[in-house]
């Protein structure tokens, strides 16, 4: 028998947060293994394997470049870089939420039969998508090299900060949607619709100056409402960090086109900080909801 101090486990309704955190730390390898499982299973029996993860953004570049630059006459220079800097963050967002929402139902055989901290499932959804994010980032790096994009201070500061902020927000949201979906299966369908709208409410394929300007003409409040979307702040920081061009001169009309705000790195950081603080609150609320609903989890599945 093991000589180390025995693991004491208390099973009772509404366990303490500290107990839960200690449990999660003890089971951190489980999260790693669940992530590994998701990746292995996804590309099992496929010849190209994780290359598929990279083909997705490559295809995105091709389609958006053809549609927007060739057909619609968009003149943003190095449009693929522009698209990628926003869409990678979005893929992480959409992928994590989409996977987390079904994580309990998809793993019901685990939840109803084995003990482990239930948070591990939605968290591993984020982890698996983070791995995809890194694969796709490789494509971005290749694109940066091809287009000879320089790396600046903004890149080094904003990209990691934006990524961490996004992960924090995801933790809160994923906990909530995952546990809610067990009780109301509508959540996953609702989420699908919400993500569709959300994508277009976030400045990914278009520039942020565009909605701000147009909404501002209707009411002074609307641009502020637009900026409330946490993904806006995150995507803007990615764009500022990777794409870096704030404005450009349209070669045909010679008009000056605004892409991002003419504000310093600090402004983007401040926005991220606000989102991160809200995210911490969201995690607290999400976790509270999670723990409230969790006690009947195994029975509801």
């Amino acid at each position: 028998m093991s000589v180390e101090a025995p693991e004491v486990r208390v099973v009772e309704p509404g366990a303490k947060v500290t107990t839960r955190i200690r449990d999660l730390v003890r089971y951190h390898e489980l999260i790693v293994n669940l992530v590994r499982k998701e990746l292995r299973v996804k590309y099992k029996n496929s010849v190209l394997g994780f290359v598929w993860s990279m083909l997705n953004p490559a295809m995105t570049i091709a389609i958006f470049w053809i549609v927007f630059t060739k057909f619609l006459g968009n003149s943003i220079p190095e449009y693929p870089i522009w698209i990628l800097s926003g869409i990678l963050a979005w893929n992480l967002w959409q992928g994590s939420l989409g996977m987390a929402v079904g994580s309990f139902i998809g793993n019901s055989s685990l939840v109803t039969k084995v003990y482990f901290p239930r948070e591990a499932l939605p968290l591993s959804s984020i982890g698996a998508n983070l791995m995809h994010f890194f694969f796709q980032f490789i494509v971005l790096v290749i694109a940066l090299v091809i287009f000879r994009f320089p790396i600046s201070l903004a890149t080094v500061v904003l990209v990691p900060a934006a990524l961490v902020t996004e992960l924090l927000v995801l933790c809160g949201f994923c906990l909530i949607v995952a546990v809610m979906n067990v009780y109301f299966r509508d959540v996953q369908h609702l989420l699908e619709l919400a993500l569709l709208a959300w994508f277009w409410m976030t400045p990914i394929v278009y520039q942020v100056a565009f909605p701000i300007e147009h909404l501002g003409k209707i009411s002074t409040v609307l641009p502020k409402v637009y900026m409330l979307n946490p993904m806006t702040s995150i995507v803007l920081a990615f764009q500022r960090g990777i794409y870096q061009h704030i404005s450009y001169r349209d070669p045909s009309t010679h008009a000056h086109v605004q892409l991002l705000f003419h504000l310093g790195i600090l402004w983007y950081l401040r926005n991220l900080a606000i989102v991160a603080i809200v995210a911490v609150g969201l995690i607290a609320v999400g976790w509270a909801i999670f723990r409230r609903l969790e006690w009947r989890l195994a029975e509801e599945l």
Binding site: M1, S2, P6, E7, V8, R9, V10, V11, E12, P13, R26, Y27, E29, L30, V32, N33, L34, R36, K37, R40, V41, K44, N45, N107, S109, L110, T112, K113, V114, Y115, F116, Y183, F184, R185, D186, E294, W295, R296, A298, E299
Partner: protein
């Protein structure tokens, strides 16, 4: 060290039995009121302690709440009220191979499953060969689990579960793992756990095994602890509660047939013809069956079987097998069977009586486990069978006396 390995304090558990399960938001909104459900108390204010190193049996009929309690000890479901404290790593043999993913190989699943059970990668590395060795799946470990047979699946699951070095082992019902040889291996391993001073909590409705292997036991009935403590006493309480006292009763077993021959009356008696329902090991059991046949039947045979509590047939025979074939039946007939020297130990046994055609294809009247009797142990031996044993101790060498 005096701390209990498992401590259950005032635990109650309710389940919701939904009349009409509303699992979509729309249904809930349309129906306005909350989904209708009944609270069902699976356990009511249960408290018990299992000391470190103890083997503790939870007995009770199906649906008594014993498995619910085991699941709560395992942390799979949470109690509604109360608290359960466990000390030491738990491995549960409730669901073997739960969480195996069919697309992953055996090797990948071992690592995944081990981490679900709380093992670190290093610990799994260390135990990997032994796990594979125990499961006897050396040649298949790099094959996807989807190609495994159910037996291989469970073997690998069991192998992982017992190699997590648990301080507390949870076992549900009798292990029915793989073939007989593997089953024996499992039971041997559980016995080794016992010797190593690990705590075992196991659930069963076959009460006979409890006094043999447990130090402590509790009888749970309809969510309450009815008896707790010495296993023999607990099992006695269980039997009394479940079967009532001594009376011969036709329990509601399955009855079928077209009644062209009808079993009118069945009597159990001892060798002297005294009607009784409690026997002792070594007694003769006399079974007399009165049949009523309204119209002449030519193709007929009468059979009996004795079953143990788990429903396993201990003996079965019929008039043909015993070389007393019935030429034909008409009117009233009495058929008598005598089972000499009952070889069972203490327990409750059920009797099935059937009247069929010679080829078993047509049933005139069949009463499945409709009668029962009790057997009390008469000798000092333990176990399932009362086999007369003699002992002879012989001194084969000179005893050396050490003088000081």
């Amino acid at each position: 060290m005096s701390e209990a390995a498992v401590k259950v304090e005032n635990v109650s558990k309710t389940f919701r039995l939904y009349h009409e399960r509303a699992s979509s938001l729309k249904e809930r909104i349309v129906n306005r009121r909350r989904a209708e459900y009944e609270e069902f108390w699976a356990l009511k204010d249960v408290s018990l302690e299992v000391a470190r190193g103890e083997t503790f049996g939870l007995v009770g009929p199906n649906g008594s709440g014993k498995s619910t309690l085991l699941k709560m000890i395992g942390g799979i479901i949470l109690p509604t009220i109360g608290r359960i404290t466990t000390r030491g790593r738990i491995a549960s043999l409730l669901e073997l191979g739960a969480g195996f993913h069919p697309d992953l190989t055996g090797r990948e699943n071992v690592y995944l499953n081990a981490s679900i059970l709380g093992l670190t990668r290093k610990e799994t590395d260390r135990n990997f060969d032994e796990i594979v060795g125990f499961s006897e799946l050396e040649g298949f470990i790099d094959m996807q689990v989807r190609h495994y047979s159910s037996g291989m699946y469970v073997r690998l699951g069991f192998a992982v579960a017992i190699h997590v070095d648990p301080a507390i082992l949870l076992v549900d019902e009798v292990l029915s793992v793989g073939d007989e040889a593997f089953q024996r291996k499992c039971i041997d391993r559980i016995k080794r756990f016992q010797r190593e001073g690990r705590t075992i909590v196991f659930v069963t409705h076959a009460a006979d095994t409890v006094p043999m292997i447990c130090n402590g036991a509790a009888f749970i009935f309809k969510g309450n602890v009815e008896a707790m403590g010495d296993p023999t006493d607990v099992v006695r309480a269980y039997r009394t509660k479940l079967h009532g006292e001594e009376h011969l009763e036709a329990s509601p077993g399955e009855e079928r047939g077209d009644l062209q021959v009808k079993i009118e009356r069945v009597r159990l008696s001892d060798g002297e013809g005294r009607e009784k329902s409690v026997f002792r090991s070594g007694d003769d059991l006399h079974l007399s069956i009165d049949l009523e046949t309204p119209r002449r039947i030519d193709d007929v045979m009468v059979g009996i079987a004795i079953h143990d509590e788990a429903g396993t047939m201990l003996v079965g025979t019929n008039t043909d097998l015993e070389n007393s074939p019935i030429a034909s039946l008409q009117g009233q007939t009495r058929v008598e069977f005598t089972c000499a020297d009952l070889p069972m130990q203490e327990g409750r046994y059920a009797i099935t009586i059937g009247v069929t055609t010679r080829d078993h294809r047509h049933v005139y009247h069949w009463m499945e486990q409709a009668y029962s009797f009790r057997c009390d142990r008469s000798g000092p031996t333990e176990g399932v069978l009362a086999i007369p044993v003699t002992v002879n101790v012989e001194q084969r060498t000179e005893r050396h006396v050490v003088e000081t």
